[in-house]
């Protein structure tokens, strides 16, 4: 690793002040479970490191009045995994965390860091996008709130400005009314996925064969997590049956944009994505009908 100047921020104010001063040449370090590894390999060589992991005011999981969630950016993956509130209301997130890397990585890595690293194979981002999550970005000039699906814009790229810090993730209360399933296909259970799908849906109150709201999000297949709106539109407000689910999965197969690499060919990944869409939609519907 190359040398850098190290700053430890004790609160958001200090972090933002350091960012406004050194932002251009600085990297924000939280758990560093991606960043430190990348720095060791000299993919990233920052002149300044602003360590925000110790900012305790950003370590919380709160259920808010509308039934939604507020998650502080420095919450670890392990806290998310173990949170009773999340297990009860957003079990997709608890189950997703169980297959995210290993226990030791989850113990140290943070949710804010994970989203900002914007790894195409992230498991956290697709699940949160499926839930309609937003993120709060803070700087010395104030705050802005953006949809997570608009926050990540390319492989390892976000819209975070040099003077900004991701401070909070919000999950809307509406998401608690539905059921979500995240699943991934990987060589070993906890590896980064070759393809992953997060599906979240809300069934009609009177007709359990109709789904009013659905989000289908793929991870690892495209350069960054994507919603599949054509597939969502095919299922939304239509009578759900086997053929409809197959048709939606076919739309994902056609619309996705994988590349051939060490993990598999383009066509192989399309096929895996198609199968995972069928599985997650069916399982989410079965789960939604059972509650």
């Amino acid at each position: 690793m190359d040398n850098f100047k190290y700053f430890r921020a004790s609160d958001v104010k200090e972090a933002c002040s350091l960012l406004s001063r050194y932002g251009e040449e600085a990297k924000i370090l939280s758990g560093g479970q991606s960043l430190v590894s990348m720095m060791k390999q000299r993919f990233i060589m920052p002149s300044y490191i602003i360590d925000v992991k110790g900012i305790s005011e950003l370590d919380y999981i709160r259920l808010v009045d509308d039934g939604g969630l507020e998650i502080g950016a420095m919450t670890t993956h392990r806290s998310l995994e173990k949170s009773a509130v999340i297990r009860e209301n957003f079990s997709m997130l608890s189950n997703m965390e169980l297959t995210l890397a290993s226990m030791a990585v989850r113990n140290w890595g943070t949710v804010g860091g994970s989203l900002c690293s914007a790894d195409p194979a992230s498991d956290l981002a697709p699940s949160l996008i499926a839930l309609g999550a937003q993120v709060t970005l803070s700087s010395e000039n104030g705050e802005r709130v953006v949809l997570l699906e608009d926050f990540i814009v390319d492989s390892f790229e976000t819209i975070l400005k040099e003077n900004e810090l991701l401070t909070q993730i919000q999950v809307p209360g509406k998401a608690a009314l539905g059921c979500g399933i995240h699943t991934k296909f990987a060589r070993r259970a906890h590896d980064l996925g070759i393809a992953s799908v997060a599906t979240h849906l809300i069934l009609d109150k009177s007709d359990r064969d109709i789904c009013n709201h659905i989000r289908i999000v793929l991870g690892a297949v495209d350069p960054f997590p994507q919603r599949y709106k054509r597939a969502e539109g095919l299922i939304r407000e239509n009578k759900i049956n086997e053929a409809l689910i197959e048709e939606a999965a076919r739309a994902v197969f056609e619309d996705c944009n994988p590349t051939t690499d060490i993990n598999g060919t383009e066509e192989y990944k399309r096929e895996i994505a198609r199968v995972l869409v069928i599985r997650t939609v069916k399982e989410a519907i079965a789960r939604a009908r059972s509650v």
Binding site: Y6, S37, R78, A104
Partner: protein, 152 residues
């Protein structure tokens, strides 16, 4: 150089280190605690696993400065004098190693897991140790050893 103050295996340590020093390099090279190993150096193999405030972490992808004020336990700090920890005893009883390279990390991960778990199943153990690779044993004896600690 930056000041670092922390507790390692119960002992208060003060040091001056270069910011890019990882926790593993600090423990292994500066303090001479050579039990934990840097296998892959990318947080995948688990050979560098130590505990920070009781939790298993991968010391090769953590900056030493990030554990300022915290308590670190390495494999060297597990035994009480000549008395081995029950997890170490279990690994011995089951012959849960061959070359031994992964063992310090494996035992620290196993120990951290057992401290949190109540009545773990074999599946739970496999899940908890999935971040620790062993290229010799095929894992069976490691899993049996870990399960046996809880049953005692």
């Amino acid at each position: 150089m930056e000041n670092l103050s922390l507790i390692v295996n119960g002992e208060k340590i003060e040091a001056k280190i270069s910011p890019e020093t990882t926790l593993h390099t600090f423990l292994h090279d500066t303090l001479g605690l050579t039990g934990s190993k840097e296998g892959c150096g990318e947080g995948l193999c688990g050979c560098c696993t130590v505990r920070v405030d009781g939790k298993a972490v991968k010391s090769c992808i953590i900056l030493a400065l990030q554990v300022e004020g915290k308590s670190v336990q390495t494999i060297e700090g597990l035994a009480d004098g000549e008395t081995l920890d029950p997890v170490q005893e279990a690994f011995l009883d089951h012959g849960a190693f061959q070359c031994g390279y992964c063992t310090p990390g494996m035992i620290m991960a196993s120990k951290a897991f057992l401290d949190e778990a109540s009545k773990p199943s074999e599946k739970d153990v496999r899940h908890a140790l999935s971040g620790n690779l062993c290229r010799c044993t095929g894992y069976h004896k490691i899993i049996k050893a870990t399960l046996s600690v809880d049953q005692k």
